[in-house]
Amino acid sequence: MSSTDPTIKDFEAAIAELESIVKKLEEGDLPLETSLQLYERGVQLSRFCHSRLEEAERRIEVLNERGQLTRSENLKLESDK
């Protein structure tokens, strides 16, 4: 799973690394092998970012006084009353 890649710390770090990769690729006439390694890492990072963006689950939970979480999708309707 790209989203649990141990070489990627978190979303912020992935974005920062992606930005530095694109700078390096655009700036210098790097050896092909180096370019390719950077490219490979770039694809990996952007996959990670996209998967993190889609990862969160559409869900509403209510935490009660005893610390229990219960799902409550119709909350909006309740509060509309």
Partner: protein
């Protein structure tokens, strides 16, 4: 009332102290006479006065609609009355604790022998005792360092779960859910309901903040309520709430009342939102931004890489035409170049494209539900990105005669004959169409 007897009611006349007091003629007044005379005296003397003080003991009588009150400062007080006709002209509700400037005249309530201010108009001055309490707490917490800008934590770029501390009965919770749903459809929201006004509300809010900060993966908390009077919002001006916000392990956004309402919670929170809806926007404004940002960078990575390969390709051709002597060197370069192209293809852009298309479909589905301008824009960006990805796909080189060999379920590209066995099924992508093949024999370079 001893003070009335201890001191002369009227200023003593500046008579020479040595002159023997001449006994005045005895004139006996009734109490009514006395009060009437004092009334005339006061009413003539104080036709219009402006008095500044703090309002207290105010009460509007149901029967008459008149308001009775006491106006006081640190050492003195005076009774007052405001008749219904005057009271009706006020734009605000006079409440105890309010510092006011009262305009009126002085009169005497004969039945009780009390003088009082008959108030014709009231203006609030500052906000009285509540405001004072607010300023005192603000100073104390500031001195304790709770408002220090260095304490402010940045919001997570991408919250995993969004914590919300507010009342389930108010408009705030509805506003927050609606905004989050619109701008971040897959948001995971955890709500800790709490009372937000009345006795004990502050403690309730503080406990809720502490509880929600401990829920795993909640990495930002919105705490607030909808608009109301200064008293309604008061819980957010209490120290226990301020301390809870400061002690919250994840960044907090305060969202109390309307844009013009400022509470102590706002000073302590990592970020102040003018309204609950605005707080929701602060949390998720970033998703659209980041989607577009990643797509832009991914596109630039592709473009830079493609340009790099094209540069090599043209150098290679230049070398080829320049010298036959260097043929061996060229052949070596050509081999390495081809292996790089194959590696590039193996990144499987089809699956990435598939993912982008999935998002497009999902975005379309959401669009049918809510026609939102920002979603339209995001959708447009996605389409443009998908088109660019397609244009850049190394699969385009298939047109030049290369083929891509996949494993049977098309999840990986086969680069090494040793990775398949005789009899395995493989799929071969050509410029047009695909082949479903069995491996008959293999050889290694």
């Amino acid at each position: 009332m001893s003070s009335l007897f201890d001191q002369p009611f009227e200023e003593p006349r500046p008579e020479p102290a040595a002159a023997p007091a001449r006994a005045p003629a005895r004139r006996i007044l009734t109490v009514s006479d006395l009060n009437a005379r004092i009334r005339v005296l006061l009413e003539e003397q104080f036709i219009e006065v402006w008095v500044e003080g703090e309002l207290s003991n105010s009460k509007v009588w149901n029967k008459t609609g008149h308001m009775y009150f006491t106006l006081k400062d640190a050492t003195a007080q005076v009774r007052g009355v405001m008749f219904r006709s005057a009271l009706r002209t006020l734009r605000f509700t006079p409440q105890d604790g309010l510092r006011v400037i009262a305009r009126g005249r002085v009169s005497v309530y004969d039945q009780k022998g009390e003088y009082q201010l008959v108030c014709e108009h009231l203006e609030p001055e500052g906000l009285g005792a509540l405001q004072l309490a607010f300023e005192q707490l603000k100073q104390r917490l500031q001195a304790a360092g709770l408002f220090d800008p260095r304490r402010k934590r940045p919001l997570p770029a991408l919250p995993r779960k969004i914590g919300v501390v507010t009342s389930l009965d108010g408009a705030a919770v509805r506003d927050i859910i609606q905004v989050l749903r619109r701008r971040y459809p897959n948001a995971h929201i955890v709500i800790r309901p709490t009372r937000v006004q009345g006795d004990g509300a502050a403690l309730d809010i503080a406990r809720a903040i502490a509880a929600i900060g401990r829920v795993p993966e909640v990495d930002v908390v919105i705490v607030g309520r909808g608009g109301g009077s200064i008293e309604d919002l008061w819980a957010f001006n209490e120290e226990v709430v301020a301390r809870a916000i400061a002690g919250c392990p994840v960044p907090t956004i305060s969202a109390v009342g309307h844009e013009t309402d400022v509470t102590i919670a706002d000073f302590v929170a990592d970020l102040r939102a003018p309204t609950p809806s605005a707080a929701a926007e602060m949390v998720v404004a970033r998703k659209d931004d980041f989607c577009a940002h990643i797509d832009r960078i991914a596109h630039r990575v592709e473009a830079a890489m493609t340009a790099r390969l094209h540069r090599s390709e043209s150098r290679l051709r230049a070398l080829e035409t320049r010298s036959g002597v260097m043929r061996g060197q060229v052949a070596a370069r050509q081999r390495s170049y081809q292996s790089l192209w194959r590696a590039l293809e193996s990144f499987d852009l089809r699956r990435r494209l598939g993912r982008v298309r999935t998002r497009l479909v999902a975005a379309d589905a959401r669009l049918t539900g809510a026609s939102d301008r920002s979603r339209h824009r995001a959708d447009g960006r996605l389409r443009a990105t998908a088109a660019r990805l397609e244009a850049l796909s190394p699969l385009a080189v298939l047109g030049r005669g290369y083929a891509v060999c996949w494993n049977a379920d098309r999840t990986a590209v086969i680069r090494d004959a040793a990775r398949v066995a005789d009899g395995d099924r493989v799929r071969v992508t050509l410029a047009r169409g695909e082949l479903d093949c069995h491996v008959i024999d293999r050889s290694h370079d």
